[in-house]
Subunit: 240 residues, 2 copies
């Protein structure tokens, strides 16, 4: 019996055809069951879901209304139920570090952008939005299933475990401007909360960096800041 998602659940949902395909491709062993809406027309995406379920021996069911029961959005034609999982970050790889992120859509968009620039390790410093809530998965377009995500109780804990990385902290009063930074890999790019940014004390950690921006806005959106930084750090090396 499928219920509206709650944080305490040991499972979550991929909502939509594309995220469900990504789930089945990258983490089929975590999938309990996949539902396809009765209203789904038999297009290429739906066929791919059927085929991936067959190949991975995943239980596939047709649903009349239970997809509607767990989401207000009317245009969801497929849904995967998967067990939540824990991961450890790759040592000496490039990382994005989000300190207390609070907006699901931002975090999902950041995952999608990370994968676009081949940076596949994400550290989340608590308190933070629930990474497994369906809105994160959906806005990641399923990229979450190809990203290593590590949770940390404090930034100090993360820092201690990954002290071999070069740290760059993003704040409006940074000592360097982004276009002037030569990123040294493996790096950790550290971003603060959507509302408050990084606390002032982060200016003493690694290299503090500012993205040039006018004073007509409070600050750039968090996901936009991460995207611009990844482009500056990786975009020139990313094969198309």
């Amino acid at each position: 019996m499928i219920k509206k998602y709650k944080k305490k659940f040991e499972y979550s949902y991929s909502l939509g055809v594309y995220p469900t395909i990504e789930l089945l491709k990258h983490l089929p062993e975590k999938v309990n069951v996949v539902y396809i809406s009765e209203k789904a027309t038999s297009n290429k995406g739906i066929e791919q879901i059927r085929s991936l379920c067959r190949k991975n021996k995943v239980n596939l069911r047709t649903s009349a209304d239970l997809i509607n029961r767990i989401t207000a959005k009317g245009n969801v034609f497929a849904l995967g139920v998967f067990q939540k999982y824990e991961q450890t970050l790759d040592k000496e790889k490039n990382h994005i570090v989000l300190v207390n992120p609070s907006t699901a859509g931002n975090v999902g968009t950041i995952m999608r952008t990370m994968l676009g620039f081949r940076v596949r390790n994400l550290a989340v410093i608590k308190p933070a939005v629930d990474i497994f809530q369906p809105e994160v998965i959906r806005s990641s377009m399923g990229s979450i299933f190809q990203i290593n995500i590590g949770y940390f109780d404090s930034f100090k804990e993360y820092q201690a475990q990954h002290s071999q990385n070069s740290f760059y902290t993003f704040m409006l009063e940074g000592e360097m401007l982004l276009p002037d930074v030569q990123f040294k890999s493996p790096y950790s790019l550290v971003f603060g909360n959507e509302g408050a940014g990084l606390p002032k004390k982060f200016i003493n950690i690694g290299t503090s960096v500012t993205i040039p921006q006018s004073k007509m806005i409070d600050s750039l959106n968090l996901a936009i800041s991460v995207g611009i930084t990844l482009y500056e750090a990786e975009g020139k090396n990313t094969e198309v």
Copy 2:
């Protein structure tokens, strides 16, 4: 009597303290009335709203529950009611052109990013999301009130009116990579719809450009693409 927003209304709402301050600062003559929630504590933002209303002789009321009546989000402490307006784009200035944008959050985030890079003219090619819906205004953080927005029935119509601009069309099969482009001002940066991107025929308009990105994702998010492009075109010149 305030009602839940509908596209056919001749007015719309700024939801939240920050967007309402921006509305009062930049377009006071369009404001019918401002409401402050009974639950709002008297902080700096609320005081600024009171002061701007006094200065601009805008009617200010305290509301018990009517803010809740028009928004599901519980944390809205201020609301401005303003008349919708029409604008014309500045000739021979830099423009962002969105062809058939469909997601309110993306369009709002794009406005905020544009202002961050001092690009203040936005062309919207119909059909498109309603630019005045409160979700756009909110995700723009009120930046919308400092952006010129022009609506066009077709890209051809826009192109005819602004043929003096240099056109850059963003698509996955572009002829140039973004880091190699030298943008020539005044320019028009043209982006397609969130799902479909620009139609193939746009490859023959101006210079077609690709943002380097891995094949592990379908494409970058629209707002992220605009943000990265504005950083490349303007970020090195933007005063902090």
